[in-house]
Amino acid sequence: MTRLIGGLIDRTAPLSFSFNGKTYQGFKGDTLASALLANGVQLVGRSFKYHRPRGIFTSGSEEPNALVTLHSGARTEPNTRATVTELFDGLEASSQNHIGPLERDLLAINDRLAPLFAAGFYYKTFMWPRAFWEKLYEPAIRKAAGLGALSTLPDPDTYDKGFLHCDLLVIGGGAAGLTAALTAGRAGASVILADEDFRFGGRLLAESDLLDDSWPSEWVDRTCAELASLPNVRLMPRTTVFGTYDHGIFGAVERVSDHLPPSDEAVRQTLWRITAKRSVLAAGAIERHIPFQDNDRPGIMLAGAMRTYVNRWASAPTRNADDQVAIFTNGDGGHRTALDLLGKGVPVLGVIDTRPDAPVFGKYKVFAGATVTGTKGRLGLQAIQIRQNGQSTWLEAGALGVAGGWNPNVHLASHHRGRPVWDEDRLAFLPPKDGPKGMFPAGAAAGNGATSVALADGMRTAQQALAELGTTAGNIPLPRVTDTPDTQAAYWHVPTTKRAWVDFQNDVTVKDIALAHKENMRPVEHLKRWTTLGMATDQGKTANISALAVMAELTGATIPETGTTIFRPPYTGVSLSVLGGGNTGRHFRPYRLTPTHAWAKVQGAAFTEVGPWMRAQYFPRDGETHWRQTVDREVLSVRKDVGLCDVTTLGKIDVQGPDAAEFLNRVYANTMATLKVGMVRYGLMLREDGHLFDDGTCARLADDHFVVTTTTANAGAVYRHMEFAHQCLWPDLDVQMISTTDAWAQIAVAGPKSRQLLQRIVDGFDLSNEAFPFMACAALTVCGGLRARLFRISFSGELAYEIAVPARYGHALMERLMTLGKDLGVTPYGSEALAVLRIEKGHAAGAELNGQTTAQMLGLGKMVSAKKDSIGAVMSRREGLAQDGRRLVGLLPLEPQSQIPAGSHLFTQGAAQTMQSDQGWVTSSCYSPHLGSYIALGYLENGHDRIGEVITAANPLEGQSFAAKVVSAHFIDPEGGRLRD
């Protein structure tokens, strides 16, 4: 490793790292790129399309070439920019997108075939023969395309997210950002200063202009120290603000431990949602290059980046210490680089300046009015061709810096689709006038890049922003700077008949743009999409403006007329892990558990996900080898003795108030106002469009007090709907409602012996049929004074009750009922048996209430009262709904032991199985131990008139077809005798 003098690296802290298996040394403070350069490594990767050898082109996140794969195994991280990868001990990196060694990539053949791969070529071929696209062409293209590879293993690291709020968010910690933050910080505003770099200072760390006669980094350190001391300022290095969203909300990623060796404990990255009252965009600017023939060799980089490497990292851009460095520029910027190189003792070949009147600032050769017209050196620059006064000469050079001017970083200011504004003097697009509300661009991002100007601009901008919040911020002392603003001339590319790269990563050349122009793909979005310009991982940060200039030249339009592409989040790539946050696997969404969950677990129940809930599915007993045995047993014991099932998941809404009855009358399709106190009624709710919304029970506990139950799935939607009906439609009604779903543990006690069992826990309450008939309800106490609610309702069709007690006692009540019911053969049953019982009874559930059905289809059309208004009543009478002849029926397979799967379609026997002859579908299906046969429910055209008919239930998807007899949906006790006596 050879290092220049100075720099902001800690030479007392050497680090070792590996690239393509070879071990190198670097220092704390290095990036992977600066360390590679210090080790004389120029070649680091291959381009996307032509697999051209590529080196380090920039010193920032705009890097198009130096993409590497970090780590290995499950932590493998492809497409990582070497230029912003903070070096740590043991860092493992490898190059990508080549077959065989980096130096001898087999796919380099693509470069030889380049003429075939001109812009848009693939739209014009690979069409014959048809089948070959998927079989041959596409797999080949895919194999060659893509950059790095994922490991296909789950990401083992930990990710976090959080929310921050501040008065002022300062994006970028360079000259302008630091003065903005300090101005606001001293004024007492709450400030967040975020910078994607691991060290604040921005270009101040890269340039050599003195601040207060000392190195810029000293002023930066002093300023950061004061900011750190202010409790109202939060410093966030290693934090990329990637998106500007509505109302002052920003997305940011903090790389918490990416700069440390991987660890299983530490959070790797944190996603922050920052809500800022105002923001200062001090994101700096990105230097552009000047396309010329063969301008993509390793060793050719931006002149500004070259300054960063020598000044901040003491890394020379060349392979060998005595290699000459050349500079190609259209302005003074290139000369700065020459001076800094000389200052560090790096041999300078000279500055090739496109301006005939090129200035000279020091002891180096200047080629005025000259251009670079060619380069040599496949794996690293060896020579360049300079054209001056009509003469071309080849000169040896180990590196070439290119300075084409600076593009303000308007990305975040353009996320709200405001268009950047062209500034002819600065030869650059400035942030849009109609940018995000409350955002103030400052410094280089606003086109004010000169250090002295940027420092002042940051302070002034912060003052403006805070003034809008009613805070007056005073001036801060600004450091003295001896800098003169750079001048430059418009010069966009060096004409050539060969290839001059505009977009390095995607291999888009000036010729490709010319071809797009020739083929009338001239609108900038066509240009982009036809050539893939700006679509690589760098989003064309170093390419787009140059491309616009070339297209403008071809069309004869101006650059602003040619337009810009739209800027969209994220500013730089954001890992899906950090966006996905910490909650992966089983914690993807929270769980709702029933009050008897712990008990069911002890019983060895199998559980199933029902929306947010976990429900006991069935309770297997020793010797039961198949879930069907268990479910059949559970079902039969409910029909024969008594069963217990936790039905807490059903939504419960407490409705009170003088107008409660009237209100419920309007939200239920059937009449509720006439319901007597102490009674329960089954109710149907419709959507306003007349279709079925939900069903459930409505119990009247007092004149002005009802308890409404909903299906598990619709609990939230029904509550919202009822609040809408009250607040938005009928606010005049005096009614209050609130959800009490979680407050009560509700247990269904079902079966012929349910009354007997309950009699053993109620505190002197008469459960006789006379005192407490079917559909009765009451508040009472059980188990010695525990308050409870009892409803005599039945989903199974048996004599049944549902008893509710305060949730914390649900577990104990279940145990008590199990103990007291032993001699009655009490059995717990789960959601599977519950489903079988309701299908046997022909009760509708989710599959029947799927949002596409009507009360009429359920056979409950008469429930939609014509005597009163209710939500959905009017529209339920529309032609299309009224004439829908499909009805819910039961289906018995002629072959009792064959199941007609739900989702089968119904046909008249012998009819062709086409969409035209489709007569309905099977909604629910199960084995009925009671009938000793599979049974099913389904909607069938004119179903009620076809009882007894044998039809075909077809499941072509799985190659099945069944003959089934149409029967009543009520497979058991159609008269309902069982639940009444």
Partner: protein, 416 residues
């Protein structure tokens, strides 16, 4: 000019001097037999089919921006015919058949790639619903297979099978589904229409309709008045605004749908996969980017950009379903305007105004429908009768009660 491998080779050897513009840049004529408003996928496909299938070539396509600048230029490129309802499924299957001969019909490689789609089911109820849908697909002549958890483990082993909040129970597979290069589709239709004499007029915004006693006779544009025998409107994202100029209110709300693409990666994901317990679907483009999306943001918007919560929601879904993608980076997100209809299904119909025809309400399913939408809209414009696969897409179906509600959520557009 005919595109072919030979042609590409010849041009490669002669410095690409022979390529011609993909289409002309004509000025609008004073009058056309038919004007199509909207130079997006559906508008261009309609113009192509009017010319190629129905022999009507005195046509102009008026585009306010650049060709293909609508949702055809901003989508996740999925093609499939896996619908449930009789009003929809035959139409989408017709579209799938047209996709299958797309390149040959248009002499343009829009990279139709039948790499399959899998819809995952995470509950028995969901599996049953997919069975009902898969059977409907069979009834319409489409292909569909119901995969068991074991078959899925075999086919897409990288999914989260063992540590999931909502375990994968089954999957509905359509092998003929896949993806197509969205811009290529627009360009293919544009070039093919232009070659048949259709005038494609860019930067020409319609500012009004000429209506005389109940009949539309032409349009006012930023490039002057243009007369027309018939006017067909296919302006997804602007339907309500454009039809308001004709005094119509539509059963449509416009919402923003975000979509996302990752940095380029070596081949990883075989086909299209959709999560059934969260908002996430994904495929991988030929260039290697993971192209993925989720649900609409959920509020009315014409801003063509969305917000962060949906970005997080989609990433959460992706990480829950396939945790291997965690180390990939989101490269770019974008937002398109979705004209969400009140039942989630489109409208291809005449309007109360003679001579004015509407193609709208595609929600976020418009891309896959492009070929059939163009064909059926052209059929309606040319013959004044709906194509047999598009008879249900009537404008009056809402009032009459014949909605085509695949999701069963009723008149709430942000849930479709």
């Amino acid at each position: 000019m005919k595109f072919s491998g030979i042609k590409v080779l010849k041009e490669a050897l002669t410095g690409h001097k022979g390529w011609k513009p993909l289409w002309r840049t004509p000025d609008p004529k004073p009058a056309y037999d038919i004007i199509i408003v909207g130079g997006g996928g559906h508008g261009l496909a309609t113009a192509y089919h009017l010319a190629a299938t129905f022999g009507i070539t005195n046509i102009a396509v008026l585009e306010k921006g650049w060709l293909g600048s609508g949702n055809i230029g901003r989508n996740t490129t999925i093609i499939r015919s896996n619908y449930l309802l009789p009003g929809n499924q035959p139409f989408y299957e017709f579209s799938m058949k047209l996709w299958e001969s797309q390149e040959q019909d248009l002499n343009f490689n829009s990279m139709v790639s039948q790499r399959s789609i899998i819809n995952l089911a995470h509950s028995d109820a969901q599996r049953d619903a997919y069975r009902r849908r898969g059977n409907a697909m069979h009834l319409s002549g489409a292909d569909a297979e119901l995969l068991s958890r074991e078959q899925l483990r075999e086919m897409v082993p990288f999914l989260n099978f063992d540590n999931a909040r909502f375990p994968i129970k089954a999957g509905l597979l359509q092998r003929r589904a896949g993806t197509a290069r969205h811009d290529g589709v627009a360009w293919g239709y544009a070039r093919a229409a232009d070659m048949r004499g259709v005038d494609l007029i860019q930067n020409c915004e319609v500012t009004g309709f000429d209506i005389t006693d109940g009949r539309v006779t032409g349009v006012q544009t930023t490039r002057g008045a243009i007369k027309a025998g018939k006017v067909g409107v296919a302006v997804a994202g602007s339907s309500s605004r454009v039809m308001a100029m004709a005094g119509m209110r539509l059963p449509i709300e416009s919402h923003v749908l975000q979509a996302f693409v990752s940095e380029g990666l070596k081949p990883l994901i075989p086909g299209v996969i959709t999560f059934g317990a969260g908002h996430f679907y994904v495929s991988q483009s030929d260039k290697g980017g993971l192209v993925f999306g989720g649900d609409i943001d959920g509020y009315n918007s014409y801003a063509q950009r969305g917000n962060l919560p949906v970005v997080e929601d989609v990433a959460e879904g992706g990480m829950a379903l396939m945790p291997m993608i965690g180390r990939a980076r989101l490269l770019r997100s974008w937002g398109g305007i979705m004209d969400m209809s009140m039942d989630g299904s489109p409208i291809i119909d005449r309007t109360p105004l003679d001579g004015l025809y509407l193609n709208a309400g595609w929600c976020y399913g418009g891309f896959k429908a492009t070929p059939a939408s163009g064909y059926c809209f052209a059929h309606l414009l040319a013959t004044d009768t709906p194509h047999e696969t598009a008879t249900a897409y009537r404008l009056d179906r809402f009032h009459r009660g014949y909605v085509i509600d695949e999701k069963g959520v009723g008149a709430q557009p942000n849930l479709h």
